[in-house]
Symmetry: C2
Subunit: 267 residues, 2 copies
């Protein structure tokens, strides 16, 4: 039993080190662990299991839109979220959403009037701000508009590759694409440049927040814009976004695809 306790203890701490063919001896010298008193070892195992359970559950609740509005990730989940975002978990989840969306897109019979469209959000949907959030605790810090704007203005956000694949597939099928973002009109040029640079070179419309939309909740602003699309005769087949406020409200798409994002919440 003691053997298993030690194993678990070690694995929880050095899981990142496994890939590098070793563990971080600076953080935890091996002899110290092997000689750890049994009671503490069990308590630690218990609490590590508890944190993993707790943070997985929190992440599920976030993705299923069950959480009341939140401003930062739970502090005790900082390590868990970092591991998820920088490890394989996040990319694996992104790829799955993209694949499911592609299956759906390929299954739809399009009209011959060119009015079938797909709506994409931009941040954490087409473009990744992970380099920014990596410097800001992966959601542990309260969102700083001014700091984030500086990052946006650099125009160097990389593409989310799985979304690029979906985007290309959707275009190839003859579905028109609309980009609908919470970014402001003042960021139009830098957003256009950034999008084109990383492979999103064509769109039917890129909609940014104009001054009269600044104070609106994202759900309201995005619903109004989708209402306009529907009024113009477009049929919204698919909608991809990392926030539920990208997807819910009025003029909901036939299928909505929620990309993972456990770092921040926009109501």
């Amino acid at each position: 039993m003691r053997f298993f306790g030690i194993c678990f203890f070690l694995l929880m701490f050095v899981s990142s080190g496994l890939a590098d063919d070793g563990y971080d001896s600076r953080a935890f010298p091996r002899p110290l662990i092997i000689e750890y008193p049994q009671n503490n070892e069990f308590q630690l195992k218990e609490s590590l299991e508890e944190i993993r359970l707790h943070c997985t559950s929190w992440r599920f609740a976030a993705e299923a839109n069950n959480l009341n509005p939140w401003k930062t990730i739970p502090p005790e989940c900082a390590g868990y979220i970092e591991e998820y975002m920088t490890g394989r978990g996040y990319h694996y989840d992104l790829e799955r959403v993209s694949k499911e969306a592609q299956i759906f897109a390929n299954s739809v019979k399009l009209g011959d009037d060119g009015r079938d469209i797909w709506v994409f959000d931009v941040d954490e949907t087409l473009l990744s701000n992970l380099p920014y959030y990596a410097r800001h605790g992966f959601g542990l810090e309260i969102f700083d508009h001014a700091e984030f704007d500086k990052w946006v203005e650099e125009g160097i956000a990389p593409a989310i590759n799985s979304s690029l694949e979906l985007y290309r597939d959707v275009l190839k099928l003859g579905i028109k694409v609309f980009f609908l973002t919470g970014r402001r009109e003042t960021h139009r040029n830098v957003t256009v440049e950034n999008l084109i640079k990383v492979g999103f070179e064509y769109w039917e419309k890129l909609i940014l927040r104009s001054s009269e939309d600044h104070e609106k909740q994202a759900t309201v602003y995005k619903s109004e814009k989708r209402d306009e699309m529907v009024k113009e005769g477009y049929r919204i087949l698919g909608n991809s976004g990392d926030q539920w406020s990208d997807l819910l409200g009025s003029s909901i798409a036939t299928r909505s695809f929620k990309l993972p994002n456990p770092m921040y919440y926009i109501p």
Copy 2:
């Protein structure tokens, strides 16, 4: 490195045994594992990690409503889902949804006309069919209406305790409750008896599928019933259900709460 490989291997297989202060020696005699060739050991570790990643991702996609319609769980995730449903994960997630719903319910200012309501689904929301699904592979088998009906007619489904807490809290606040289920009218009596027996003793209305609703998709049937509630002047504050078809469509609640259910999907 070999030590970690062995640890991981053992932990994946004997995690259930840990609680019993040992591992199942019938399934995997210890000497066999210790002497396992290193290459196979790594391959196995890799594939176990892969399955865990894959099935967690699948479960997330299901809970976020990203999956195309599915009839059974992925066969390779059978063990993962069983562990989730019978271990602490499922109950932990259920409790979190209930708590978030309670926070929301307690934050709402009610009207003084008694028209504020909360809608609850029944199966896997108020009542648990886990004893049935435990006998049927936790979603691994294709749904068998006749078999499931027999189970329903026994009238012995236990309460989901976290939902019982939410239900009691909601009633205490003065919010009326509606039960809206996909069960048929022919099961009204047994459903009433089952609900009362496990603590759900009061409701404003219990709505079951009448014969004209049999062929409708759940989303359509439930939306129509919610439309009627709204027409009668009720305000749907909350809606709790384990299926997205309980929550989406028209007359959506102010807040919808998606209870976990990785075992089956109802469109």
